[in-house]
Amino acid sequence: MEALSLFVAAALDSGTVLALVALGLLINERAGVVNLGAEGMMLVGALAAFAIDVHTGSDGLGFAAGAAAGAVLAAVFGVLAIGLGANQYATGLALSLFGAGLSAFVGMPYTQAQLGARHHFAVPLLSRVPYLGAALFEHHPLVYVALALAVAEAWFLFRSRAGLLLRAIGESPESAYALGHPVRRLRFASVLVGGAFAGLGGAYVSLVHTPLWVEGMTAGKGWIALALTTFGVWRPYRILLGAYLFGAITMLDFYLQGRGIQVSTQLLSMLPYLATIGVLVMTSRNAAFVRVNMPASLGKPFRPE
């Protein structure tokens, strides 16, 4: 039982990275923009956060720097894909390559550096609850931020005017434009938000999850986060659940090994990806369901003339 509660804790920790990034990407995707540069934004965010933390000793500044770095890189994407109407998929890919290279390059002096002592967080009282306490209440604040983010986004997207506008832009930018809304400016803003959260997710990796810097340290998590938005059919709670599920499956392999159960690790490692395809198939089967949830203009450039 104790091992199980620790497993849940590990799954939450691993899933939070994915949740932060995917929920951020949800914002720009709901506005109709696909940014495949998630991996690059996460990496620059991870490096920025680590570097600032090394120099200032402050985690808070580190997280802020990570978010800012992600947003700056996203801005480059925005200028090209929204400002100049370039192909979103190609631009996003270029961004992920560039971000990976840039972070590796600039980060070279930091591979030998290390941060100050890491805090151990625990919610007072609740963390003493047997089993549940260890599973749920001994996490870094960002884990709870991710949860709150999902709640906030659900409210924002489906219960607020601003969210309605965002979704309208995603469904039909032409119509929104005809109504006088500054579609491109709002899309750009949504891209910045997405980038900031991707950077924040990266910062979580380099400050909390594995407190060090090494090039390429996000190891594909950005791509999984991209898959999560589709996996969760562009709905915040489903995305959150998907993120934790992925985190759990990632940890499952090691958890089983730690218990002495030997399953072929490669076959086990395939699970998250096969699961994504499975859910994708199930949710896409109902074309009407997808049409209702997927932003209709996703990936298409909008060029007012």
Binding site: A3, L6, F7, A10, D13, S14, N87, A104, M108, T111, Q112, Q114, A117, R118, H120, V205, H209, T210, P211, L212, V214, E215, M217, T218, A219, K221, T250, M251, F254, Y255, Q257, G258, R259, G260, I261, Q262, S264, T265, Q266
Partner: protein, 393 residues
């Protein structure tokens, strides 16, 4: 690509392209008739056969290194590079070194190594197993250049292998682990199930059992040499399963950092990782390649180089355990010193029977010592290691 311009082009295709391709194909096929006389360097300046053959080249002796990972990995590659710099320092301006990092263990490796050979390097070090085939191919084409392959098993007239007895380091930190652990459960974050790694897991366990016979070792395989997030997650899983001292056979400091995060203990591997876990770090099992590099380069320069397989350990100064923390009790520390001294003068053998494998079957009889052949082929867990080896068939 704008849609209207594409549609417009559909109506007016040009014939420029087929002509171009036809031309290219003709050119490449006609190249088949010619045979390239010089088999020397593909890229860049080629050292002429004359100077290459003679032992004395004008100018400093050029040595090149190919690394599989980044110099900043704080582990395996860092250790090689540190040794390269030490060797350069020791041998002075008579030697000039260079390196290429992040060379993948695939087709690209051949190109990089071939380029090194054609650039006038007289001695080339390939620091990972996966360069074996590429190095063999290049060695065949550059008979006057010498090649050194780390951790491999194939040699040639001008290619030899070298390795370090990392299992001695594993045994020594095992002694410390056995003396420090309170839960009698140890954890190893292992990379790839090759004999070297399995041998290290076993040696670690044997070392721990020598001070604490009840010790058990749990193993998690990450199937990568270097993947900090995965290494950290594997470490967490081991800690969650009850281990309180961790060892690793992977290349980053993530395992130690995770131990630090959880208030448990860990060791540095390949390089001194003490600063990555101020509270968790008990000691680091380090490899010092510089004695070997100095000897290899000096031998090559003075014409004494010859092929073979070298496997150095504590005795030759290649393996050591450093930065031992104050948290280690005095008696355990003393035991470690004894072991180290015994390894240094050859009086102590780690793999000496009776040693039983996991199922209880004896693999080494009492007082029987394992030879290098036995050590190279270790493919079993010793008693005390939990779990099943990822098997081949």
């Amino acid at each position: 690509m704008s849609s209207s311009s594409r549609l417009r082009r559909l109506r007016h295709p040009s014939t420029a392209f087929p002509t171009f391709v036809a031309g290219l194909v003709a050119m490449t096929l006609s190249a088949c008739q010619r045979h390239d006389e010089s088999k020397a360097g593909p890229v860049g300046a080629v050292s002429s056969p004359a100077t290459a053959a003679s032992g004395t080249a004008a100018g400093p002796f050029k040595v090149a290194f190919a690394y599989v990972g980044p110099v900043g990995d704080a582990g395996w590659t860092f250790a090689h590079d540190k040794a390269r710099r030490a060797m350069q320092q020791a041998l002075g301006p008579a030697v000039v070194t260079s390196f290429v990092e992040n060379v993948p263990e695939a087709a690209d490796a051949e190109r990089v190594i071939r380029d090194m050979a054609s650039q006038g390097n007289r001695l080339i070090f390939g620091t990972t197993f996966g360069y074996m085939e590429p190095m063999l191919k290049v060695a065949e084409d550059f008979k006057d250049v010498r090649f050194e392959h780390a951790t491999g098993y194939k040699t040639a007239e001008n290619l030899r292998t070298y390795d370090s007895r990392t299992y001695e380091g594993a045994y020594m930190v095992g002694v410390l682990a056995g003396g420090v652990t309170k839960s009698s459960t140890l954890g190893v974050v292992a990379s790839i199930p090759i004999p070297e790694v399995i041998r290290n897991i076993d040696s670690f366990t044997l070392g721990a059992q020598s001070v604490n016979p009840r010790v058990k070792t749990k193993v998690v395989w990450v199937n990568k040499w270097f993947d900090p997030p995965k290494e950290g997650e594997a470490a967490q899983a081991l800690l969650n399963a009850g281990a309180d001292v961790l060892m690793q056979n992977t290349d980053s400091s993530a395992v130690l950092q995770t131990a630090e995060k959880n208030g448990k203990y860990g060791f540095g591997w390949d390089s001194d990782m003490s600063k990555f876990g101020p509270n968790a770090h008990l000691a680091s099992a380090v490899i010092d390649w510089s004695p070997y590099y100095e000897k290899a380069v000096s031998d090559a320069m003075s014409g004494k180089w010859s092929t073979g397989a070298t496997w150095w350990g504590v005795k030759e100064g290649a393996i050591d355990v450093v930065s031992i923390s104050g948290k280690v009790p005095e008696d355990v520390r003393k035991k470690l010193s004894e072991v180290r001294a015994g390894l240094k003068d050859g009086s102590f053998t780690i793999w000496k029977g009776p040693i039983a494998e996991q199922s209880g079957k004896e693999v080494l009889k009492a007082s029987e010592s394992a030879d290098d052949k036995f050590l190279h082929a270790i493919n079993f867990y010793v008693k005390g290691v939990e779990g099943t080896l990822p098997s081949s068939k």
